[in-house]
Amino acid sequence: MFRIDFNKLRFLICDDNPHMRRILRTLLHSFGAREVYEAEDGATALEMYSHYVPDIVITDWAMPIFDGLELAQMIRQPESKGNPYAPIIMLTGHSEKRRVTVARDAGVTEFLAKPISAKGLYQRILNVVASPRPFIKTKAYFGPDRRRNTNSAYMGPERRVGEKHEVLQQPSLLDKARSSI
């Protein structure tokens, strides 16, 4: 079994809601964290990110002016002087599947839908500490590998080119349905 030494981790939390920041701080401190920095908007969080170099970022999505999605995109700049690889946990009230996809495509490492629970937060932190994923850089994406499950049998249109299998173009189900009419 593994234990996380939270007292060696530095967290940055970003949420415009002071109550949620207090809850997050309480949870992290009771896990054992000592260094927890707080920002109430994305712009401040980005400054603190550069200054404090946190190990893990926990951010809300919906915030005025500069939101958590933009924060993730700013951090995931491969040419930046800062660290573009830090795990980002998005903690949000958004709970629709398409939102998860958008967050994933912005380079978010883990997604945690509110209401928050101690167990859910701990599990996400354990994931990013114990099972980091490689990073992928394409023309349009830089961030943790979005494929969590390796399926060597997958031959669909989204398979990456140049690894074990080349792209096999398959008509979508919609195209198949149209052509059969």
Binding site: R3, P54, M63, T92, G93
Partner: protein
């Protein structure tokens, strides 16, 4: 501690992408321990959260006052982008926080309100009652928590408001398939 030096980072280039691997920069915070030596960080955190619970009612009151003020501004002066955003953020915070604060039905109603704000094609044309019923229900649940939220009436209120809101949204979005799809898609949050 979080950053490896550039020489530790391995880059494999493929036709359309690069795969970048590096030693786990957080490996030093993981310690293997015997089961008997494991403490219970989650239990400790739950206890700490319970210790905050005495403040939840006050926090919830702050949240609903914000929601109420956001809607009063719209009722008096109409929708602008800023007022719309403030109403949405106030409802969205309640959607995310209220269950933690002990008001799960208020969270459900706030979610329904968020959907109306997000998916109605023209907020000026949304019947005012749809807003006021949602907001009044949240206020009632929070003000009368001990009598209301613990009873099935709040859950029923939540269910009916959601049904009315969804019917309205399905009707006004009948020619907007991308919104219809989002409205009909299931939430990723498991049901209570």
């Amino acid at each position: 501690m979080a950053k490896n030096s550039a020489r530790d980072i391995e880059v494999k280039a493929f036709a359309t992408h690069q795969v970048i691997t590096q030693p786990n920069p957080l490996r030093k915070v993981l310690r293997r321990v015997e089961e008997k030596d494991m403490d219970d960080p989650v239990g400790r955190a739950e206890q700490a959260l319970a210790g905050l619970s005495g403040e939840f009612k006050d926090w919830m009151t702050t949240e609903i006052n914000r929601l109420s003020a956001a809607y009063v501004a719209i009722r008096n002066e109409g929708f602008t982008k800023d007022r719309r955003d403030e109403l949405f953020l106030a409802a969205h915070d309640i959607k995310g926080d209220a269950a933690t604060f002990g008001f799960p039905a208020a969270a459900g109603i706030a979610e329904s309100l968020c959907r109306v704000i997000e998916h109605a094609p023209d907020l000026e044309r949304v019947p005012a009652e749809l807003f006021t019923h949602h907001i009044n229900a949240i206020l009632a649940i929070v003000h009368d928590n001990t009598r209301l939220d613990s009873l099935t009436v709040s859950a029923e209120l939540n269910r009916r408001l959601r049904k009315v809101a969804d019917e309205y949204l399905a009707h006004v979005n009948r020619d907007r398939p991308e919104h219809l799809e989002a409205i009909l898609a299931p939430s990723i949050v498991p049901a209570e």
